[in-house]
């Protein structure tokens, strides 16, 4: 890489960090239990807005995996999300009424929390509708994975976003609190993902899945990115650039093997398509706080009006991580 390019990326990284530092003033602590974070604790970071119905299962899922502490930013929820989170024993909660969009879709806040609390910890950054699945997750806790990553000198772990959907219109059967959203919407597309390398940041740009197929068939280049690097052994100089799609320094984006082999990777099961999406899509149209001029939500709203069924006869029903491994969506890599 040319020296100039390297310097530009360094500047960009500094800029995100400075931005995160400035945006820290938008965060007001509600419950701060960060003193309880142990030296080797695994942290989970998330931004939420009106996700009350999802939270009980979300917290349980990640507690069972072995997350030690949750660092959550509440962006002006009105449905009791804040009260619910504030009452949890292992959650540190911040509140912000500022613009989600102008905080780069929450990433500035997350970058700040990572900078402040994440140093030398394994940090998992996920949304409340994303469920992390990794090789052997049914028999080995998250700690086994992070120990193995440490021993292998791997600093970041990729997990592609896998959109899950039910059979029939997704607002037909409402999701109930505490229910496993994956059991509620168990289907996914197994093999229609396209990949391009991003020369600037070195990451892969993955698109496809049911959203691309249904809402972006004629505009495939606008389909949402599915590549994610949610698990990182965080160090102060690191910064997320765009959602958790890519990071700086660039080396953290090299989660793929270029010489034919497979590195270990996981999936983020994305339980977006439950009935609350209908209201969300409406609300987002008023707020206009989402990525790329809320293009995605506009497409949903247009699509939702026609009662779409994302299910096709080629849809796979989710069983376990081994199924995803066989289908080639994730890999055990060298871990056995």
């Amino acid at each position: 890489m040319r020296l100039a390019t390297r310097y530009m990326l360094r500047l960009a990284r500094r800029r995100w960090l400075v931005r995160a530092f400035r945006k820290r003033r938008e965060l007001r602590p509600v419950v701060d239990q960060t003193a309880a974070i142990g030296r080797s604790a695994i942290l989970l970071l998330s931004t939420v807005r009106n996700e009350r119905i999802r939270l009980p299962y979300f917290l349980k899922y990640y507690r069972d995996l072995g997350v030690n502490h949750f660092l959550i930013v509440d962006n002006g929820s009105t449905d009791g999300t804040r009260e619910y989170l504030a009452a949890q024993p292992d959650v540190s909660l911040w509140h912000s009424d500022a613009s989600y969009k102008r905080a780069r879709f929450g990433m500035d806040w997350i970058n700040w929390l990572l900078l402040r609390y994440g140093h030398n910890h394994w940090c998992l950054t996920v949304d409340p509708d994303e469920f992390f699945v990794y090789p052997f997750c049914d028999t080995r806790p998250l700690r086994a994975l992070t120990d193995w990553l440490d021993a292998s000198s791997i600093k970041s772990f990729s997990a592609m976003l896998l959109d899950m959907y039910p059979k029939g219109p997704f607002d037909l059967i409402p999701y109930r609190e505490g229910q496993d959203p994956i059991a509620h919407a168990p289907y996914f597309d197994s093999g229609n993902y396209v990949i391009e390398r991003n020369p600037r940041f070195g990451n892969l740009w993955i698109q496809g899945g049911p959203r691309a197929r249904m809402f972006f068939a004629d505009l495939p280049e606008r389909a949402p990115a599915l590549n994610k690097i949610p698990l990182v052994k965080w160090q102060r100089p690191y910064a997320y650039v765009s959602s958790t799609h890519m990071l700086l320094p660039r080396g953290l984006n090299l989660v793929y093997d270029e010489w034919g082999g497979e590195k270990a990777s996981g999936c983020l099961l994305h339980a977006k398509f439950i009935h609350t999406l209908v209201d969300k899509a409406e609300e987002e149209m008023d707020r206009r706080q989402h990525y790329a001029n809320s293009h995605e939500y506009r497409a949903y709203r247009a699509g939702i009006a026609t009662q779409p069924d994302l299910w096709t006869k080629w849809s796979e029903r989710y069983i376990n991580w081994r199924q995803l491994e066989i289908l080639g969506l994730m890999s055990k890599g060298n871990w056995a």
């Binding site: 052997f136 120990d147 093999g191 068939a217 270029e258 497979e262 890999s331 060298n334």
Partner: protein, 565 residues
């Protein structure tokens, strides 16, 4: 007579203490060495935890950085204590703090009692070692390594390179034949005392002090000097990955470890509660009584290494995105591409399904939409028939299709009217079987209901595109299996090529074709070509087609194609 354990520990001392207690309570003396870099507090806790046991000793603590002499010094010290304090010990077993016994101690004792003079130590001459990562084998003994491999990698590599260039060599002391092997061994009292009480030991130690990774060579070399009874294998089950780092065992390996028949396994994840509980509980593992045999586990870990280094052919995903020419198989499975056949034969796709059983698609790269088999609007894996989606990443479309349909032969039609973005890819893919009848598109134009001026323009366009494709297929680096006929050549004798194609698709069937596809009606085609020529367009790809009334090849051929018997 008994066996004693020397344990080298550096972290997770609680687990190490558990294992030490297990052995000590089963009448095996244990001498423990704890790395000096481990915190005093943890060390004291371990000493405390084992305080009640009379047959446990702690050795002097050395700094044990990986690949340095400290590990050997620690082992020497601990072994000396073992031999001095426990006179009944006949075999000394070297284990680490992350080891766990897989079989009851009594079985190990019985096994060793039956082989009282045998030394179990992997010891291989440097020339025969295949596992050294980084390529240093004999050079471990002949170069100097003043820099830490872990912390000063650049200096380490530079200095090794420098010594190689200069041709520097350390002299190997007389009588020493370098051997390498796993650092986990089980040696007899006789052998160990001979090594430790060797009058030349100071000189030998001084030499090995500067050898790289002496823990993998010191005892392995010295044992050859003092004993003739060496079984060159380790009783400890340890598997290494492609970076030379040990594989870790977890709870889900329990049944596998029970099947391994090995006595001790390394290394166990410190929080694998089920493994520790099972193997330390004295719960008798099924008495296999067999020879230690790690081969059953080998396959699992060999597969892991292969997946990491070679991966699955034809898979493109978030953690496998090979550079050009490093794909190790660009696509997942063999497939067939037919250009022009659907125009030459009326019932080509149906016939191909019937004679091969393969999945036969139409023009996958057609400009209007993707023509999947049976007119499906979507296909395996959720591929959509939208032309825009396909043309967005045309190669990914093909690799996805082939990955999704592993186990089922795919065939599709291709022609100059289709998206040509995949031609170079097809040409360099050894899985592609490309059969092309050049000029086939002329038949479609011939039958179309267009104005002749449009036909002429379209013919010129398609001919140009197909010429380019034919050119690509003739390039010197082409890896695909390519067959090309001109239309005239092909219709003269269509059956023979068909037999070859079908045999290649389903080689095991080895059937003679009994039915041929129906050749399309060529009446008037020769005149049609002549008309094109008269308009100034030269249909070269079609070949030499006679201008007779019935298109040269008679209607009788259409009625019943002649079969080669």
């Amino acid at each position: 007579m008994s066996v004693g354990f020397v344990m080298l520990c550096h972290n997770d001392l609680t687990r190490a203490a558990q294992v030490a207690r297990h052995w000590a309570e089963n009448d095996c003396p244990v001498v423990i060495h704890v790395d000096r870099r481990t915190k005093r507090k943890n060390y004291d806790q371990m000493v405390q935890a084992l305080a009640g046991l009379t047959n446990v000793r702690f050795a002097r603590r050395y700094v044990c950085e990986w690949g340095t002499w400290g590990l050997v010094a620690a082992t020497q010290d601990a072994a000396t204590i073992m031999l001095r304090d426990f006179g009944q010990v006949r075999h000394v077993f070297l284990a680490s703090g992350a080891c766990a016994p897989l079989r009851p101690v009594d079985e190990l004792r019985a096994y060793l009692d039956a082989r009282p003079q045998t030394n179990f130590i992997e010891s291989v001459t440097t020339a025969d070692v295949g596992w050294t990562v980084g390529g240093l084998d004999i050079e471990r003994f002949t170069l100097r390594f003043p820099f830490s491999w872990r912390k000063q990698r650049y200096a380490f590599d530079f200095y090794v390179g420098l010594q190689r260039r200069i041709g520097f060599r350390r002299r190997i002391p007389a009588g020493i034949v370098p051997h390498l092997g796993s650092q986990w061994w089980c040696l007899t009292r006789q052998t160990l005392t001979a090594i430790l009480q060797n009058p030349d030991r100071p000189a030998i130690d001084a030499y090995f002090r500067r050898v790289w990774i002496p823990d993998e060579s010191y005892f392995q070399t010295m044992v050859r000097q003092v004993s003739g009874n060496v079984e060159s294998r380790s009783l400890t089950l340890a598997k290494f990955d492609f970076q030379g780092k040990p594989h870790v065992f977890y709870d889900d390996h329990l049944s596998l470890l029970r099947k391994s028949d090995c006595f001790v396994a390394r290394k166990i994840w410190s929080q694998a509660d089920k493994l520790y509980d099972t193997f330390l509980s004295g719960d008798p593992a099924p008495d296999l009584g067999g020879e230690p045999n790690a081969a059953k586990i080998d396959r699992l870990f060999a597969k892991a290494v292969e997946r990491r280094t070679k991966g699955r052919s034809g898979l493109y995903m978030q953690s496998r995105h090979p550079n050009h020419d490093w794909e190790n198989g660009v696509t997942a499975a063999p497939y067939s591409v037919f250009a022009g056949f659907a125009d030459v034969f009326d019932n080509w796709e149906k016939w191909l399904v019937k004679s091969t059983g393969a999945r036969v698609h139409g023009h996958l790269y057609a400009p209007d939409r993707v023509h999947f088999a049976q007119g499906e609007t979507s296909f395996m894996g959720g591929l959509s028939d939208s032309a825009a989606s396909r043309d967005y990443r045309p190669l990914d479309f093909l690799t996805n299709l082939l990955w999704n349909t592993r186990g089922e032969r795919q065939c599709f039609q291709f022609g100059p009217a289709d998206n040509q973005a995949i031609t170079y890819f097809l040409a360099r893919d050894p899985n592609a079987q490309i059969s092309m009848v050049t000029g086939g598109w002329a038949l479609r134009l011939f039958k179309s209901n267009l104005d002749f001026a449009d036909i002429r323009r379209e013919a010129a366009r398609l001919q140009k595109i197909e010429t380019d494709f034919a050119y690509v297929l003739r390039l010197p680096w082409v890896k695909a299996r390519v067959r090309v006929w001109s239309l005239a050549e092909f219709v003269e004798n269509p059956i023979e090529p068909l037999q070859a194609i079908v045999d290649e698709i389903s080689p095991r069937a080895m059937r003679r074709l009994t039915e041929a596809p129906i050749l399309t009606d060529l009446t008037g085609f020769g005149q049609f070509l002549q008309a094109l020529r008269n308009q100034g367009m030269q249909p070269t790809l079609v070949g030499d087609f006679p201008v007779s009334e019935n298109g040269g090849f008679g209607a009788q051929q259409r009625a019943r194609p002649y079969l080669v018997q």
